[in-house]
């Protein structure tokens, strides 16, 4: 038996080694070629630029391509040669390597994709050379931009002590002024922020490091602290080190602290929210019962399907937890929002947002103190097949059941039927959904509770366990000018309510096992009978 095992193992191993060798060969082929210093061909670069870049950055590199008016942040204006992501001190030009990195990887959290997969090495270098021709600053070749010499991160970055130090300096060097006390971009200065061109700009939400323009690692964060993001309100903190107000280690600790605010990995979308069965329903958003419940992340994107479209949603996603008892369900939706709208201090910001974006309407809207809103959407009944109502708030023929919560009345959400994006028919006060909401340092936490059963089964979804119940989320950030059809939307996801395990779950496997065992024994018995019969005959 053992010999057999090793024989098989050896065989498999040899095969795997052979396959691995083949792979090494295949992958190794392109590797030995040295990254040859291509001559930077600006005319070839121009062709690439016109084909792939001009749509957003404009024919003349002024960041005014046809796509520009639908993006916040807007595409880079190359004529000023002002670049956010550099390795050089503030005010200096970026190095070629810096620019190439942005071209290769793109800028996370923006519309700029990485081009590594689309363009060849040569094409990317050519286009880099061409981009530099837009600004006279690059023409002066006497000044070569010099990268800052960075050290490496001190160890113990994840430790409580290090984070405490990081937090201390996070406060003392004033990060919280813009990024807020908890780092959600809700600092007191946040509403005033704009970039060099006067476009609105959000202080980064430090809890979403996957959206940091220049990358989300501790090193990336540290580099941004040292260089600043030119063209944006984010300054360089290098002077602090030079003038000995801060040690290098302390600045690293700040970077490590900022990194610690985001999850280890970017959240992965799981379609089905598992809703466990609990004894007690937590009504408060900060009830300790929530800590034991699994959390689900659903990304939200701009409503760009129906007029009036919205290209710059502020809410990037919702975190959802849900539990249910024998008769009720509680759904906690958490999302980051830089202000508890309506907040008049954000009115100029809304004005800037509305000015920056092209609108479908000919007339530009005037900013108003709109509230924050959230809608949770369900079908009217649990669908049996794959079919669902139209995810964008149903249609005239197939309405959806929605809970609409608004920051202007935090204790109850209006339940109603949406028949298309611009039509919402409330179901009356009796159908309202009690909610408890907390706004805490740039984050809304809202708990919706409802009985599983409903009196009006035709329009108010009765929740049932053991079924995939479609659910979708819509969010409006009033301080970003969102209201009406201007919102962040999600596609359909699902809630699955646990049900008490029925007996058959345990009985059928046992039954199957007994049957199998019996059958197996029969086979063995027959085989042995036959042999002994044959033997007997011999």
């Amino acid at each position: 038996m053992r010999g057999r095992g090793t024989g098989e193992g050896g065989r498999v191993m040899r095969a795997s080694v052979a396959i691995a060798a083949l792979f090494v060969f295949v992958f190794a082929l392109p590797v030995p070629l040295p990254a040859s210093p291509f001559p930077q061909d600006t005319s070839a670069g121009k062709a690439v630029y016109q084909k792939w870049c001009a749509g957003c950055h404009g024919d003349n590199g002024a960041g005014d391509g046809p796509g520009a008016k639908h993006m916040i942040p807007p595409p880079r204006d190359f004529t000023g040669a002002i670049y956010q992501i550099r390795s050089t001190p503030s005010g200096q030009l970026p190095t070629d390597a810096d620019l190439l990195r942005s071209i290769d990887e793109g800028l996370f959290g923006t519309a700029m994709p990485g081009w590594k997969t689309r363009l060849s090495d040569r094409q990317r270098r050519d286009v880099l050379a061409y981009i530099k021709t837009f600004s006279s600053f690059f023409a002066d070749t006497t000044q070569r931009p010099q990268p800052i010499a960075y050290g490496s991160a001190p160890g113990g970055g994840g430790g409580a002590e290090a984070l405490k130090v990081g937090r201390q300096f996070y406060d003392s060097i004033g990060c919280r002024k813009c990024h807020g006390d908890q780092g959600r971009g809700d600092g007191p200065s946040a509403p005033t922020l704009k970039d060099d061109a006067g476009h609105p700009i959000f202080a980064a939400n430090l809890h979403e490091n996957w959206r940091f323009n220049g990358g989300g690692t501790v090193e990336d964060i540290y580099h941004r602290l040292r260089t600043g993001l030119d063209g944006t309100p984010m300054p360089s903190f290098s002077d602090l080190l030079e003038q000995k107000f801060l040690t290098d280690e302390q600045l690293w600790r700040v970077a490590q602290y900022v990194r610690s605010l985001s999850p280890q990995e970017p959240p992965v979308v799981r379609d089905v929210v598992h809703v466990p069965l609990a004894k007690r329903l937590p009504h408060s958003p900060d009830d300790s019962a929530w800590t034991a419940v699994d959390v689900y992340w659903f990304p939200l994107v701009g409503q760009i399907i129906h007029k009036e479209r919205w290209f710059a949603p502020a809410v990037t996603g919702v975190w959802v937890k849900a539990v249910h008892t024998a008769d009720s369900i509680a759904l906690r939706v958490t999302w980051d929002d830089r202000s508890a709208s309506p907040d008049t201090s954000w009115l100029p910001f809304i004005g800037r947002v509305l000015n920056t974006l092209d609108s479908d309407d000919s007339t530009r809207e005037q900013p108003a103190p709109w509230p924050d809103q959230l809608a949770v959407q369900f079908p009217v009944t649990i669908p049996s097949g794959m079919e669902r109502p139209y995810f964008l708030m149903g249609s005239a023929g197939a309405p959806v059941y929605q809970w609409r919560w608004s920051s202007s009345s935090r204790t109850a959400a209006v339940a109603g039927l949406a028949r298309g994006i611009d039509r919402f028919d409330p179901l009356g006060a009796a159908a309202g959904i009690p909610t408890q909401a907390v706004y805490d340092h740039g984050q809304w936490r809202v708990v919706f509770t409802r009985a599983l059963a409903s009196a009006d089964t035709a329009s108010q979804l009765p929740f049932r366990s053991g079924r995939a119940i479609p659910v979708a989320f819509f969010a409006w950030d009033g301080s970003n000018g969102e209201h009406g059809t201007r919102m962040a939307i999600s596609t359909w996801y699902f809630l699955a309510l646990d049900e008490p395990v029925p007996a058959r779950v345990f009985i059928s496997p046992v039954l199957a096992m007994v049957l199998t065992l019996g059958l197996g024994m029969l086979v063995v018995w027959r085989a042995q009978q036959k042999t002994s019969y044959r033997k007997g005959r011999q």
């Binding site: 600053f137 060097i173 300054p235």
Partner: protein, 257 residues
């Protein structure tokens, strides 16, 4: 205050040029080696003075809510306001940057003074609000507030920068390489903080004082276009011909809407 600083700077400048001794002016057509020539011209040149006024009523400067910054707030007894329009008595307009826009001989260069221009961040406001600085001259930015300021330059012809000064006593020295009117300086932490720096390659510029007066001196003979720039009211130009060491007057009147 702006005027005072400018006076100091101007006086020092004059002192510097005077100490070199005065010589007769050379033909502007063929400028001799720059530094010497410039000094000569300055000593020998004419002067433009003027008053700047505005018509209409000045818009009110918005009050600044400094509640977020106790340290700054404590420096004021009354509610501080922004400095968008600083007006003196009888509609005199201060904080107007007046400079020679054109008319100086081409190719002539002027040395940058060794003394820096100082921009102080004090009480969450910039001092001065409008300043002039020469190409290559140091601009020293210091923070007198124990709160975070970031000083961000928005410029087209010069490299912009954005550095932070979270601590009192921090300084940053910068220079500009190209003339540019104006380089905007702002603090993003405090949205109300704005300053404007006129960067010139010649020393012939001034900022109007509380009484609206300004003086540009040391101009060589020639016909000049003088421009007055105000952050809210825009620009106005005047043409002045200087012959010899005479003093000419150029008054500007802005319309307040």
């Amino acid at each position: 205050m702006t005027g005072r600083i400018f006076n100091v700077v101007g006086a020092m400048f004059l002192l510097t040029v005077c100490s070199k001794g005065s010589q007769s002016n050379a033909a502007p057509a063929a400028p001799p080696p720059a530094p010497a020539a410039a000094s000569d011209l300055a000593a020998a040149g004419g002067t433009i003075t003027g008053k700047i006024k505005f018509t209409g009523t000045a818009p009110r400067n918005p009050a600044i809510d400094m509640s977020e910054e106790a340290a700054c707030k404590a420096k004021y007894t009354t509610t501080p306001t922004e400095e968008n329009v600083v007006a003196g008595p009888a509609n005199a307009l201060a904080n107007v940057f007046v400079y020679v826009k054109s008319g100086l001989p081409a190719g002539q260069t002027f040395p940058a003074p060794a003394t820096p221009v100082v921009l102080d961040q004090n009480g969450c406001r910039y001092h001065p609000h409008i300043l002039g600085v020469m190409v290559g001259q140091n601009l020293e930015i210091k923070n007198s507030d124990p709160v975070l300021h970031n000083i961000k330059a928005i410029a087209k012809k010069n490299r912009p920068f954005n550095v932070s000064q979270p601590n009192a006593g921090m300084t940053k020295t910068v220079t500009f390489s190209q003339p540019e009117v104006m380089v905007n300086l702002e603090c993003n932490v405090h949205g109300w903080m704005h300053a404007y720096a006129g960067v010139r390659s010649d020393p012939f510029f001034a900022v109007s004082q509380q009484d609206g007066s300004f003086t540009i001196s040391g101009l060589p003979p020639g016909t000049y276009t003088i421009e007055a720039w105000h952050e809210k009211f825009g620009t106005q130009t005047a043409t002045v011909t200087i012959a010899g060491t005479e003093s000419k007057t150029a008054n500007f009147t802005f319309a307040a809407h």
